[in-house]
């Protein structure tokens, strides 16, 4: 089969690939191909961009007035009543708080019943009144009642994977895990290095370092995520000693916290750049991460911000075909920036980019179009 036919076959499956609707064999087949075929990888990225149209949050919440009006209308038609009070406060989020769960209520109610029985029993068998029997029975305490259950910290505090799972659960698009929640959890976990495995600690330490490097000296990462710096020599040792799963879990938890989004998208790609092994994209998981990062960066609408992310990423990429992919993305972004009539400095930067990456850009544009594009950019001054 010729390469073109092969690629056409793959492209016909990309829609289902994007929707996780391929069989296992097909999935493996497609993944393997797009890792080595820029054309098909770019086609996939186009599809992702197209899907942004459907995901875009451009329909505004018009405020409580609309929701209240709807409820009133429905109540009138159904003969019902509406609950008083602020509509917002009454809304029950799909993820209910622990306190509202029926299990806790049952436990509380039964505990109250048990306490009442105890109280009554105590009163009956040892009344406070005058008569004191010569032999009295003191109501025995329920064994263990006064012992607080001694659970190990590891039983009660989630590990990195659980944090990542908690952050990801129930959220298909946007994680609502607040920075302080994740920070607090991580602080609890990593405060005492002896309690947790070195691996988890290494993962957290490395994430902390990477984020600080990415954010730059002017941003105090520690104040936002108070991971304790370990003095352990083990922590500073080979970061590859942790496995990818633990690392991914720690990265996911960090990224889900929303901290990385404050760094204008740079840390998104830089995180992945740093977490990729030396021989990049040798595993399916890592390539998936790379593609996912592309999707994340696409969500940041400002091309100037995207450009920073891609530039940072480009500096860490070693594989030539991946470099070309990134250069193409940058070329597209710079074109968009220039077309919007953006600032003078950005236009100069765009020209510098075209010159510096001439080989790659010429490679996919062709010499004639490359020259035309360079001339066009220059004429804008």
């Amino acid at each position: 089969m010729s390469k073109n036919n092969y690629c056409e076959q793959i492209k016909s499956k990309l829609s289902r690939y994007l929707d996780n609707e391929l069989s296992e064999d097909e999935l493996r087949f497609v993944k393997q191909h797009i890792r080595s075929c820029i054309g098909c990888a770019l086609e996939l990225e186009q599809l992702r961009k197209i899907d942004m149209i459907g995901k875009a949050e451009v329909f505004q919440d018009t405020g409580d007035d609309l929701w209240l009006r709807q409820r009133k209308h429905i109540a009138v038609e159904t003969g019902g009543t509406i609950m008083s009070g602020d509509a917002k406060q009454k809304i029950v989020p799909l993820k209910r708080s622990l306190f509202r769960s029926s299990g806790v209520r049952v436990a509380i109610s039964l505990s109250a019943a048990a306490a009442l029985i105890l109280f009554v029993t105590k009163e009956i068998y040892q009344p406070d009144e005058v008569f004191v029997p010569e032999e009295s029975v003191v109501a025995s305490q329920i064994p263990g009642e006064e012992e607080s259950s001694q659970k190990s910290i590891e039983d009660t505090v989630p590990d990195a994977q659980q944090i990542a799972d908690a952050a990801a659960s129930g959220h298909n698009r946007v994680s609502e895990t607040r920075v302080s929640d994740v920070a607090e959890q991580q602080h609890i976990i990593f405060h005492d290095a002896d309690q947790y495995s070195d691996r988890t600690h290494i993962a957290a330490f490395n994430i902390q370092q990477e984020t600080q490097e990415t954010a730059g000296p002017e941003t105090d990462v520690l104040s936002q995520v108070p991971l304790v710096q370990s003095n352990s020599a083990d922590v500073q040792s080979d970061p590859q000693s942790i496995n990818n799963k633990e690392r991914s879990a720690a990265v996911s938890a960090f990224q889900s916290s929303g901290i990385t989004s404050e760094f204008s998208g740079i840390s998104g790609s830089a995180h992945d750049a740093v977490t990729l092994p030396q021989d990049k994209f040798t595993s399916d998981d890592e390539f998936e991460i790379y593609l996912e990062r592309q999707k994340t960066l696409q969500l940041i609408r400002d091309p100037a911000i995207q450009k920073n992310g891609w530039l940072s990423f480009l500096q860490t990429v070693q594989e030539k075909d991946v470099q070309d992919l990134v250069v193409y993305e940058l070329y597209r972004l710079y074109t968009s920036i220039v077309d919007r009539g953006s600032a003078h400095e950005l236009k100069i930067e765009a020209i510098d980019f075209l010159i510096h990456y001439r080989e790659s850009v010429e490679g996919f544009l062709g010499a004639a179009q490359y020259k035309e594009r360079l001339d066009r950019f220059s004429k804008l001054f």
Binding site: K55, I74, D302
Partner: protein, 221 residues
Amino acid sequence: MVLILEPAALSEYVYLSGLLILALIEQVHVSTDKDSDISLIRRTKKGDTGAFDELVMRYQRQIYFSVIRIVLNREDANDVVQDTFIKAFRNLERFDEKYRFYTWIYRIGVNTALNLIQKRKNREYHFEYRDEEDNFNPPDTENPDNEIEHREFKKHVQDALNILSPEMRSVFVMRVYDELTYQEIADVMSISLGTVMSRLNRARTTLKKHLLKSNFIHKQP
């Protein structure tokens, strides 16, 4: 053990304790029910006039933001949401408690939206985005470039969704926004899997052509 108590006091204690325990059990029973959609549905059926309002509050926003992407119009989306819950109320007896209430009401919502479009097929459908009404999205005066870009992006989205037929648009939105599987989409719309895939492919192809023309995406080198 010597135990001397006045019989009256003892019986009073037992009686009161019993009452309290019964009340707590009742509370347990009620509180177990209070949180779930099923309990609200059951209470509605029994005539609890506020229970259905709780259900409306839980799901009106999700239904609204799903259907507005199909009808592309605030007033119509509002009508669909209201009609959806009214229909659900009137057909509560037909709701099978084996399934999630939201899934059921979502299905009603999508079909109500498509029926509305069918009824008004002579009316041109376009997203009514009028800046003067956009009171909840004040202009970003500190970053005017961002504001312009945001509005341009919104325009891209509006125009793109507008060009899809209602059937393609609803399948596309259900897949991409609501993240339903192909089978779930097929169930909601009562169509075959093959039809789902075909409509989705056509939606993406149509959008691709449109977005290439408007330079939202660029032709591959």
